[in-house]
């Protein structure tokens, strides 16, 4: 088995060498080196709610030149002209469009780990759906951790042309292996006018993984993104996610299911920006915590000055299965305009409802089974959006096992 250099052993010249050896274009090598220099110089970010104190970044090996991306794709006859390939490979055929988009949604210098991704990414997919093309069958990119002590640095670039429609699933999964591992994925999504993207992101890493990711969708006029996130795994998760409703009449339906157990520390920071006129957002974030776990919903909805007639609705609910578990909710709302049609927020946090439990038990359902049903029902709005039966089953089983 190939061993990779640790982050401490890397330098911008090694990065240049690897890039050149792989025949990558000069602009990409430049981007990688600039990002590396930022990474090397930057202090680790100070995140109050993400515990990196036990994370030994310098001992992590970056899987340079390896690829752990598994593409699952049944060719759909409707999908004429659709490109779904490892991003590195797609560089050979679609360099111009990749160059035009790569790193334009998420600033490579946003923080140290975003820069790390921009410098080192090897894994990841390129998905391009041409104008007015509707792909029915979901496309899946699954990422597995090569080995404990490794890092997986995946970069996904999703581009939907006008009127295109597709379901993209990214799965971060690994069989439990001992020892720290690191995942630093970035997914950038671009939705042309009237496009529809069903984006499903599922994080089910084993227990020693640090997952620090960034995701952003830029949504064009009349386009819709249905974004469904499932966060079950990892030791620490820190995901900054953003939907920018740039085009008039653009929409997002954003649901998430997070389940913390053991000593997990799972943070999701969704940002929602209403920029165009008559944009519409519905967010429904569900969290369950037990044991000593700690989760954070650090959300921000920004209704920008130039927006008009915005509709925005945020629901976030947390269910505590055991008394020591903690969930923080820090929703923010910034309104920079007088023209808002509707903006609403509902939030709850508490233990399993005794009246629900009693009702179910009065029908003969034992207490533990009733709690299972209540938790599964709580996550149902998210499970309902998982596009394949096999994945839904796998997620449901993982949730069941965690309860």
């Amino acid at each position: 088995m190939k061993t990779f250099p640790t982050l401490a052993e890397l330098s911008d010249t090694t990065i240049l060498d690897v890039s050149q050896a792989a025949g990558e274009p000069a602009w990409l090598a430049e981007q990688r080196m600039a990002a590396w220099r930022f990474f090397a110089a930057a202090e680790p970010p100070f995140w109050r709610r993400t515990d990196l104190s036990k994370f030994k970044a310098e001992q992590i090996a970056a899987a340079i030149g390896a690829s752990a991306t598994i593409l699952v794709w049944e060719r759909d006859p409707a999908g004429q002209g659709v490109v779904f390939a490892p991003l590195l490979q797609a560089l050979h055929t679609h360099e111009a469009v990749i160059r035009q988009h790569l790193g334009t949604a998420i600033d490579s210098q946003r923080h140290k780990f975003v820069a790390l991704n921009a410098a080192l990414w090897q894994d990841g997919v390129f998905l391009y759906v041409p104008q007015n093309t509707a792909v029915e069958l979901p496309l899946t990119a699954a990422f597995t951790m090569p080995a404990p002590g490794d890092a997986i640095v995946a970069r996904n670039l999703i581009i939907l042309d006008h009127g295109a429609s597709v379901t993209f699933v990214e799965e971060y999964r690994s069989d439990a292996g001992a020892g720290q591992a690191f995942a630093a994925p970035i997914t950038e999504m671009f939705l042309g006018n009237d496009a529809t993207l069903r984006f499903v992101t599922v994080q089910t890493w084993g227990e020693d993984v640090y997952h620090i990711g960034a995701q952003k969708a830029r949504v064009g006029r009349g386009a819709t993104i249905e974004w469904s996130a499932v966060n079950l795994g990892a030791r620490v998760q820190h995901v900054e996610a953003e939907t920018a409703l740039e085009g008039d009449g653009s929409r997002v339906e954003w649901v998430a299911a997070t389940f913390g157990g053991g000593h997990q520390n799972l943070l999701t920071a969704p940002w929602l920006r209403h920029i165009g006129a008559k944009t519409e957002a519905h967010m429904d974030f569900k969290t369950v915590v037990k044991d000593q776990s700690y989760t954070t919903f650090d959300g921000m909805i920004k209704i920008e000055h130039q927006s008009r007639a915005t509709v925005s609705r945020l629901e976030e609910h947390a269910l505590h299965l055991t008394p020591k578990a903690r969930s923080d909710s820090i929703p923010g709302l910034m309104i920079d305009t007088n023209d808002v049609a509707r903006a609403g927020h509902a939030s709850t946090s508490g233990e399993v409802d005794e009246e629900q439990l009693f009702y179910m038990r009065s029908r003969g359902i034992p207490r533990d089974d009733a709690i299972h049903l209540i938790v599964m029902g709580f996550f149902e709005p998210v499970l309902d959006r998982i596009p394949t039966e096999a994945l839904r089953q796998r997620i449901a089983e993982m949730i069941e096992a965690k309860i």
Partner: protein, 260 residues
């Protein structure tokens, strides 16, 4: 084993306030027994206590059914023993469909100690057939099977679904807490019909009907009527007692109680 429900000197408090002050009542197997009483007299408290709601503290007394003092059992154990409560205010369970809920309940009843639940579970085809038949009998639209339990249901829909659950679980002793409230006249007929059919199919079933109105008792005809007032059973009689109450209100009983 005795299939009567025998309640002896039952005392119940909520947050240190005594609500039931020594209830004595026997609901015979195979009988329909109505309980009437003014608002706040403790009818729901009695129903919830018999089912084992954790918010009610039993401070004294017993309730025997099938050879056991059910007050010592967990709510789910009481259900498996054959007790059923149709709630005055059914509870919504978001994300859990009527069908899945009922299947879980039926399978819980079928589960046996030491056996794989998969072995004892109701076969899917049989379950589908049963639920379809029972929904049709109660004029519940088939689409309800896939709706989340009681979420966004109208008052009348909730009550019908309570009776659907009762019909599916086939209890030996059913308590119905104001199942008639919130029902229009057509729904009242359908629901009563459902209860009567179940009763005809299971003539050993005991039914404790809590209601304010003679209206329901025109359809579900009681053998016995008891009046609960201020936490005690103050009068017992036959169906004529309900008619008398309808005519005179509770005051005449209140006066009797006061003068005795």
């Amino acid at each position: 084993m005795n299939s009567d429900l025998v309640i002896k000197d039952l005392r119940v408090s909520i947050e240190d306030k005594e609500i039931l002050k020594g209830v004595n009542l026997t609901v015979r197997a195979g009988s329909i027994h109505a309980i009437m009483g003014p608002n706040g007299s403790g009818k729901s408290t009695l129903a919830y206590t018999l089912m084992g709601h954790p918010g009610y503290t039993v401070t004294g007394g017993e309730a025997w059914y099938q050879g056991q003092n059910i007050l010592e059992l967990e709510p789910d154990e009481r259900s498996k023993l054959g007790l059923f409560l149709a709630f005055q205010y059914p509870v919504a369970i978001p994300g859990v469909t009527v069908a899945n809920f009922l299947r879980a309940a039926i399978n819980a009843h079928r589960a046996e100690e030491g056996k794989d639940p998969k072995e004892t579970a109701i076969p899917m085809a049989q379950f589908r057939k049963q639920i379809r038949e029972q929904m049709a009998a109660l004029s519940i639209d088939e689409g309800f099977a896939r709706r989340y339990l009681n979420e966004g249901f109208s008052g009348g829909e909730k009550k019908r679904v309570e009776i659907l659950q009762m019909a599916m679980l086939q209890p030996g002793m059913a308590i119905m807490d104001e199942t008639d409230s919130g029902l229009d006249i057509d729904a009242l007929k359908i629901v009563s019909q459902g209860v009567n059919t179940l009763y005809e199919q299971h003539p050993d079933m005991g039914v404790l009907v809590i209601t304010h109105y003679q209206r329901l008792l025109n359809y579900i005809k009681p053998h016995y009527v008891s009046v609960l007032m201020d936490g005690r059973i103050v009068r017992e009689g036959g169906p004529e007692l309900a008619l008398e109450l309808e005519e005179k209100g509770y005051d005449f009983i209140r006066e009797e109680v006061a003068s005795s």
